[in-house]
Amino acid sequence: MFGKELIRGIYTENPVFRLLFGLCPALAVTTAADTGLGMGLATTTVLLGSNLVVSLLKNVIPPAVRIPSFIVIIATFVTLVGMTMEAFFYPMFEALGIFIPLIVVNCLILGRAEAFASKNTLGRSLVDAIVMGIGFTISLGLLGAVREILGSGSILGFQLVPGTVDMALVFALPPGAFISLGLMLAALNYIAIRRKEA
């Protein structure tokens, strides 16, 4: 059961590659694998918190003030995560910069609160948050890894290619982000097309 859900989060409904949610952080913070993973985990934490609270309060919140309530809840968790990171994980906090407060406008979180947690039980909502979070984290880590390998020949700071080889700096730069993501989406589409044909 959970395995099926997990596949949904990682592949069939992958937030970044399939639903195209949260592309801003996906492009911005993936200059390396570690920042990508950090962003993914921070987002997952917020997602867990908001799904939890929204699911608990789904019968209390009147429909008319649903969206403002969700925004307040999400913003609260974003700020909490931000504060905690600043206090205890400062280097990561600094590396992610403005994209931490901007988790609040990540369509993934509001989307899951609105489309899933407000209609489902606590348990299902938590599972949804976990699998979606994992999917998001994996996507960002993957994109970060691809860009880090191509851009600097290393992965999570570990040098794969001898430092004397000049890697393509462009992958660490904004154009490389768009191109990498574009090619990865194309690869997924290609697999999907092949599968359909087969």
Binding site: D166, M167, F171
Partner: protein
């Protein structure tokens, strides 16, 4: 796919023209600059040109025909043109593996990702150049001075110390610049050779004068205003700006590319003017020494918009949709 005709309205429907014949004539037009580049920069230049052209042709054959038969490698010549142009706008000292990557980026990302010839939005050679410039900025801004006659009589390739290009601050006389005896990209330094190619293309009716005129004209105007504001206005300054860097080469061989420039006449003029303005603003007011690549790439992206707003109203067309 191979027979796909390039979308382009008159005025050059003079006879039965195929993509193939046009492309091979462009290659002929590129001959003077290629020869000049090899004479000026030696064996290094020759290797870069050959590598770029061959890589582009092989990749094109693999994408289109999925085989490497001689006929498919020769193809319609468009890949050869793109590859050769790419080689000509690279520094002669570019490591050959970078040339291979550049050609691959140009053909695959610049051209076939958008659907191949006739569909590509950006000039493949420029996409490739921008990509490699941003990936290996140091290698791509290391220029070598031209060879002298004595270098040629002693040995073909010499280790020439790196030197500044005119836009990088080197001072050269206008005659040196005209002949191309300056540091720079292989095909961009010799104004004389570029003009020979241009004359051939004009005589054969392959280029429309509007885009180049808008380009060179607007660049000249910006250069004039700039030198006037700087208090050292002189015709030589303008001539210098026009001959420096890749401006003339781009005017003749890149902004005239039918696929990546507007179809309307007014559009082409606007396109040329836009390219010229951005190129000169980058050169004169921003920190990058050269703005040709970025100016044209930027305007390539504007082409659909330019076309959209300059298409003449078809008689009887109902306004708006």
């Amino acid at each position: 796919m191979t027979d796909k005709f390039v979308v382009g309205p008159s005025p050059h429907v003079l006879g039965p023209k195929t993509v193939k014949s046009v492309m091979w004539e462009v290659v002929i037009a590129l001959a003077p600059v290629s020869i000049a580049g090899i004479l000026l920069f030696g064996l290094d230049a020759l290797l870069v040109l050959v590598t770029a052209t061959v890589t582009a042709m092989i990749l094109e054959a693999l994408v289109l025909h999925r085989n490497l038969k001689p006929a498919s490698i020769l193809g319609d010549g468009s890949a050869a043109v793109s590859g050769l142009i790419l080689g000509l706008i690279l520094p002669p000292s570019t490591p050959l593996w970078m040339v291979v990557i550049a050609a691959a980026v140009g053909i695959l990302l610049g051209k076939h990702a958008f659907g191949g010839l006739g569909n590509n939005i950006f000039n493949p050679a420029l996409v490739a150049r921008a990509f490699v410039f941003m990936s290996w900025p140091v290698a791509m801004t290391t220029w070598h001075g031209p060879l002298s006659l004595s270098d040629w009589t002693t040995r073909v390739s010499v280790d020439v110390a790196s030197s500044a290009s005119p836009l990088g601050g080197a001072q050269h006389g206008l005659m040196e610049m005209f002949l191309g005896q300056t540091a720079g990209s292989i095909g961009e330094t010799s104004a004389l050779a570029i003009l020979l190619g241009a004359i051939f293309l004009i005589v054969r009716g392959h280029i429309d004068w509007r885009a180049p005129l808008g380009y060179v004209g607007s660049a000249a105007v910006v250069a004039a205003i700039y030198s006037f504001l700087g208090g050292d206005f002189a015709l030589t300054t303008i001539a210098w700006q026009l001959m420096a860097g890749g401006l003339l080469f781009a005017a003749v061989f890149m902004i005239t590319d039918m696929v990546t420039s507007p179809v309307t006449k007014t559009g082409r003029l606007l396109f040329g003017i836009g390219c010229g303005l951005i190129t000169m603003v980058i050169r004169l007011y921003l920190s990058a020494p050269e703005g040709v690549t970025y100016g044209i790439l930027f305007m390539n992206a504007m082409v659909p918009l330019i076309d959209r707003y300059t298409v003449p109203k078809v008689f009887g067309e109902v306004k708006s949709r």
